[in-house]
């Protein structure tokens, strides 16, 4: 039985609890639900907002391809990915991944895997707008993110 992932690329905020409820309500086969929420950080207090540019169409398509890869690797009962674009203020949500499974290890690994690949493969780009009004700048990709994604390349399936 292959499940259908729910993929959303949207301007507006998401509700993690409503999305989680969609994967569990009325079911008795879900033992574990792992949710990841990525938020806009600003420890230094210098950021006005992040602006997320995306490639419409490819963003949805690439997230769907990643989700299908995860579904092929782990026995999931449900999978949801929501990624926002546009201006996002410090403290606001950026991305949501929820993986549901009978067992906790599959749910943890699938969510972890998806976040690693989302960082390196989903066509989104962050620009920082500073509170000072100074020139904004594009966030650079981190080598560490590539390394995180590489952890999964030699593993074809988890349990």
């Amino acid at each position: 039985m292959t499940i259908e992932p729910l993929i959303k690329v949207q301007l507006e905020n998401f509700g993690a609890e409503a999305e989680a409820a969609r994967l569990t309500t009325g079911r008795k086969d879900v033992g574990a639900l792992v949710s990841f929420v990525g938020l806009c950080r600003d420890e230094a207090g210098t950021l006005a907002a992040l602006e997320l540019e995306h490639y419409p169409g490819m963003a949805e398509a690439e997230l769907t391809r990643m989700a299908e890869d995860a579904i092929g690797r782990w026995p999931l009962t449900g999978l949801t990915i929501v990624h926002r674009y546009g201006k996002i203020a410090p403290g606001e949500n950026i991305v949501l991944v929820i993986a549901a499974s009978a067992h906790r290890r599959a749910a943890f690994e699938a969510a972890d895997f998806l976040m690693d690949f989302l960082k390196t493969r989903a066509p989104f780009w962050k620009k920082e707008h500073l509170a000072s009004g100074e020139s904004s700048s594009w966030v650079e990709a981190k080598a560490g993110d590539d390394k995180d994604a590489e952890r999964w390349l030699n593993t074809r399936s988890g349990t």
Binding site: G38, L52, E53, H54, Y55, G57, M58, A61, E62, H83, I94, V95, M115, L118, K119, T120, R121, A122, P123, F124, W125, K126, K127, W138, V139, E140, A141, D145
Partner: protein
């Protein structure tokens, strides 16, 4: 061929999207990059750090040796920073 640019590649080229007639010798993504660089200063600046540019053919990630035959849309952009 429809060409799209994102993030700082878009800012350097100066347009989001453009339609380009491919000269006969342009078969691969790498050929297309060489051709684009020859167009003007903006394109040359956008593709200056060629290693920092990622490519998608019809919305699927590809490498620079990918064949353009049959593709409708090519997109150029920096390494992704979503998530």
């Amino acid at each position: 061929m429809n060409i799209r640019y994102f993030a700082w590649v878009r800012e350097r080229v100066g347009v989001e999207e453009e339609a380009i007639d491919l000269p006969g010798g342009v078969k691969t993504v790498a050929d297309l990059i060489s051709h684009l660089k020859s167009l003007d200063e903006n394109h040359a600046a956008a593709f200056e750090e060629e290693d920092a540019i990622r490519v998608a053919l019809d919305q699927v990630h590809v490498e620079n040796d990918a064949d353009l035959a049959g593709a409708r849309e090519v997109a150029f952009f920096p390494p992704m920073t979503g998530g």
